[in-house]
Amino acid sequence: MPWLLALFALAVSLVAVVPLIYIVVRALSADPATWQRLWVGQMPDLLVQSAALLAGTIAFTLVVGIAAAWLVERTDLPGRGVWRVLLALPLAIPGYVAAICYIILLRRGGVVERLAMDLGGFARGEVPLPPLYNLGGAILIIGLVSYPYIYLPTAAALRAVDRSLEEAARMSGRSAWKTFRSVTLPLVLPAVAGGALLVGLYVLSDFGTVAMLRYRTFTTAIYNQFSGQIDRSGAAILSLVLVALALPLLFGEGWFSRRQRRLTADTAWRPRQLIQLGRWRWPALFAVTVVVMLALGFPLLVLGGLSIQGWLFPSEADRIWGINNEGILAFGLNSLVLSATAATLATLLAMGPLYLAVRFPSRFSMALLTLSRSPFALPGIIIGLAFVLLLNRWVPILYGTIFALVFAFIFRLLPQSLSTGESALRSVAPSLEQAARTMGASPARTFWRVTLPVAAPGIAASWALVFITAMKELPTAILLRPPGFDTLPVRIWAAASESVHTQAAPPAFLLILLTTLTLLPLMHSRLGIDRAMQDNL
C-alpha cells in the first residue's frame, strides 16, 4: 500500500467525520433540561410527522417509479425513447422549486384561480383548490422530484436482468404478468429497495420543500431551534436524532446495492420482446404524460412564463426587488462558480479513499471509505449548522467567508462523489494499470495516463451529478453564505420567505434550466446516469 496515498485518504476521511463527531459531542454535552424540554415538547410530534411523510412519499414514488420503469423498458409505449429521458429529468428540479411552482399555481389569487374565474365563471374564493399546505401536498411534491431515485435504478435493473431467466419462466408455463411478478420483480427488488431508501434519505434531509409548504419535520425544527435561540445545543440534539434515523437507511441502501450486483447478468444480444399494451396503450400514455407534466412541464411553463412576464412588463414589486437580467445572471454565475469549484474539489478528494479501497482492499481502506462516506447521513442543514458552530468556536475569522462556504459544500458533496465515482474506478481493469507499470511508468504516471483517461466518462458523469446536487443545495448556502454572495437557491428562498413567490420565478427558472441542461447529456451516454444511480447516488 503506497503510504502517500494512504496518508491522503486518511486525512480526507478524518476531516470528513469532524462535523458528525462535533454534533454528537455537542448534543450529548447539552443541558439535560434542554433534552427533557425537546423530548417531551417536540419529539413525539416530529417523529409522527416525519414518519408519515416518509411512508407516504416512499409509497408514492414506488408506484410511480416502478410503473414508469416497466412501461419504458418492457412495453410498446408510444415514444418510449423520449419518455425514458423525460421521466428522469425531475432529478434536476429541487423540491423547493416544485413547491414554489405549485404555490403560484394553486394559492388563492394564483394562476388556477384566476383562470377559473376568467374562463369558468367562478366567483372569487369559490374555486375549489386542492390544499397544498398539508401532508398530502408535501408527499405529492417531494414524490414528484424524488421518484427518479426509484425509476432510474429500476429501469437499469430491468435492462440488466438476463432475458433467458424470463424466457425460462414463460417456458415453465407462467403468463407474461406472472413472470413479471414471480421472476422479474424479485430480481429487480434490490434495485427498487435501494432506490426507496434513497428516497427516504431525501425526505429526511429535505429542508426547502417542507419549509415552503410549512410542514414541520426535523430539518425545519432544527432551523427554528438554530435561528431563534441563543443556546444552540437544542439544534444539535434534534440533529443527533435525525442522524440516528437516517443511518439505518444509509446502511440498508449500501447492503441492497451490493446484493444487486450478484443477482443479475447481462447476456442479451437479441432485442427483447416488448409487451403489447393493446387497449391499455392510451391510458398508459396518458399516465406517463401526467407524471412528466406535473414534475417537469408545469414547473418549466409556470416559471418560464412568469420570468418572461416580469421581464417584459415589470411590476412595482419587480422594481422593488430589483429583478433584472444582470441581477439574475450574477446570482447564476455565483451558483455556477461555487458549485463547479466544490464539485471538482469533492471529486478530486474522493479519489484518494476510493482508489485506496478499490486497488488495495483491506480492512483499513474499507474503514476509511466508510468514514468518508458518513456525511451522507447528514442532511445539508446539519452540515451547515455544524460548520457555523465549529467556525464560531475555533476559527471565527473564517465565518462568513467564501472559503467556509466552499468547504462546507465539499463536505456536503463528498459522500456522493464517493458513491458515483466508485463504479467509474471499478470499470478500470487492474491489468491495464499493471501493463503500464511493467512498461516502466510510475504509480502516479500510471494513474494520470491510464486510470484517469479510462475512467474519465464515469468520472465526468459522477462530477455532473455532484454538480447538480451543489446547484440545488439550499440550507448549507443559507447558513454559511457571506453577506452579499447570493446564489440562485438563496435568492429563491429569500423571495419565498417574504411570500412574494412570483419574484422567485426568474432565479428558479434559470436554476432548473441549468441543472436540466447538465443532466440531459448524461442520459445519452452509456456510462451515464443509470450506471451511477445503480451504484447509488
Partner: protein, 340 residues
C-alpha cells in the same frame, strides 16, 4: 400430418430488422425422437429453436406442434401454453430460488415435493434441493436446468447449446447422460449445437442448417456419409475433394476408378472421407507421405499425389509408415460426387 409427427415447420421465415435469420425452413420431428439442429454460428439454428418454444414469432410460414397450429395463419399460442420445456445455454436458473424451488417452479404447488425429489434423482443429484444455483458447478447447473425443463412432463424438450460452457470431458459424459434421461422420460427432444461430434453421437436425426436454411435432414450416418453439398461435407467432418469425371455410377479421378452413391455425369468433385482411404507402403507408389500428426488413438497423414495435389488420410497408428515414404492407396466403400 400423420400421428407420428410432433413438430412440423412449413416455409417458416424470421427476420430481425433487415437480417433474415431463418428463411423458408421446413422440417418435421417424429414423436419420441432426439433431433439435433446442427450448423455454424449464425446459421439460424437457435432462432429455429426459439420459434418452436414460442419465444419468437415467425414472419411467415406455419408451425405445428402436437397436432395444432401454434404459429402462422393467424394462429398464435403463447410460450407458456405450448407444453414445451427448455434448457438454456447458461442454464437460466433463477438466482433467488433454491434448486428445489427452481425445479418446482413450473409445477403446481400441491404435488410438488415428491416430484422434485424424483427429478433430482433422475438427473443424478439427489439431496441438492436446498442449495442455491451459485453453489453448483456448471455441469450441475445444467442438470438442474434439465430437471426443471422435464418437471411438467412436456411433450417437447428443447436444449440450446446446453454443453457449450462445459469442459470437453464433462461435455462428453453429460451428453450421454442427457440422452439417457430424455429417452427414459420419452420426451421428444430438439437440441441446438455447432459441434458435429455432439450431433452425430447422440441424435437420432440431424437437421443441418446453413445461412438460415435447412441444408439436409437425415440420420447421423446419412449426413456423414452422403452429405448433400460440399459445405455440409466439410462442416460435419474432414473431407477430401478431388476433381473427377463421372459416368453413371462410376467416376474417374486421381485415385483411380470409384463407385458413386448416386449416379452423376460430366465433371464432378468427388468427396472422400480421410478414414475411407487405406494405405500400403510400397517402394514406388501413387503418393508420398508429407507429414504425420500423431494423436494416440489415430493419426492424420498428409499425402502428396503425383499430380501435386494434397490428400488427408486418417489411419490407426502404424509403425511402418514414416514421412517421405511412398504409398499406394485404396478407397473403401462408395463415395459422393458433386457436379462442378
Amino acid at each position: 400430418m400423420d400421428g407420428t409427427t410432433l413438430i412440423s415447420f412449413d416455409q417458416v421465415e424470421k427476420r430481425y430488422g433487415t437480417t433474415e435469420a431463418v428463411r423458408a425452413v421446413s422440417f418435421a420431428v417424429e414423436r419420441g425422437s432426439l433431433v439435433a439442429l446442427l450448423g455454424p454460428s449464425g446459421c439460424g439454428k437457435t432462432t429455429t429453436l426459439r420459434l418452436i418454444a414460442g419465444l419468437e414469432a415467425p414472419d411467415a410460414g406455419r408451425i405445428w406442434l402436437d397436432g395444432r397450429t401454434v404459429a402462422g395463419k393467424g394462429a398464435w399460442v403463447a410460450p407458456d401454453a405450448r407444453r414445451v420445456g427448455m434448457v438454456f445455454q447458461d442454464g437460466a436458473l433463477f438466482p433467488h430460488l433454491t434448486v428445489a424451488q427452481n425445479i418446482a417452479f413450473p409445477l403446481n404447488t400441491r404435488n410438488g415435493r415428491g416430484r422434485v425429489e424424483d427429478l433430482l434423482a433422475l438427473v443424478g443429484m439427489p439431496g441438492y434441493g436446498e442449495r442455491f444455483p451459485h453453489q453448483l458447478s456448471g455441469g450441475q447447473q445444467q442438470r438442474v436446468a434439465l430437471a426443471r425443463a422435464l418437471a411438467p412432463q412436456p411433450s417437447v424438450v428443447l436444449l440450446d447449446e446446453p454443453f457449450s460452457r462445459l469442459d470437453a470431458a464433462l461435455r462428453a459424459s453429460l451428453r450421454e447422460e442427457v440422452r439417457a434421461i430424455v429417452k427414459q422420460t420419452g420426451a421428444t427432444t430438439v437440441f441446438v449445437t455447432h459441434d458435429q461430434e455432439e450431433a452425430l453421437s447422440i441424435a437420432d436425426r440431424v437437421v443441418v442448417m446453413f445461412d438460415g436454411e435447412v441444408a439436409q435432414t437425415g440420420t447421423p450416418q446419412e449426413v456423414y456419409t452422403r452429405p448433400a453439398t460440399r459445405a455440409i461435407a466439410t462442416f460435419v467432418g474432414e473431407a477430401n475433394l478431388l476433381r473427377g469425371e463421372a459416368n453413371g455410377l462410376m467416376a474417374e479421378c486421381a485415385l483411380g476408378r470409384m463407385i458413386l452413391a448416386t449416379p452423376a455425369h460430366g465433371p464432378v468433385d468427388i468427396m472422400v472421407r480421410p478414414e475411407a482411404i487405406e494405405l500400403r507402403a510400397v517402394r514406388d507408389g501413387a503418393a508420398r507421405i508429407e507429414r504425420i500428426r500423431y494423436f494416440g488413438h489415430d493419426q492424420a497423414i498428409q499425402l502428396c499425389l503425383r499430380d501435386g495435389s494434397q490428400l488427408d488420410v486418417r489411419s490407426l497408428p502404424r509403425p511402418d509408415l514414416t514421412a517421405g515414404q511412398q504409398v499406394d492407396l485404396f478407397v473403401r466403400g462408395v463415395v459422393v460426387a458433386y457436379p462442378r
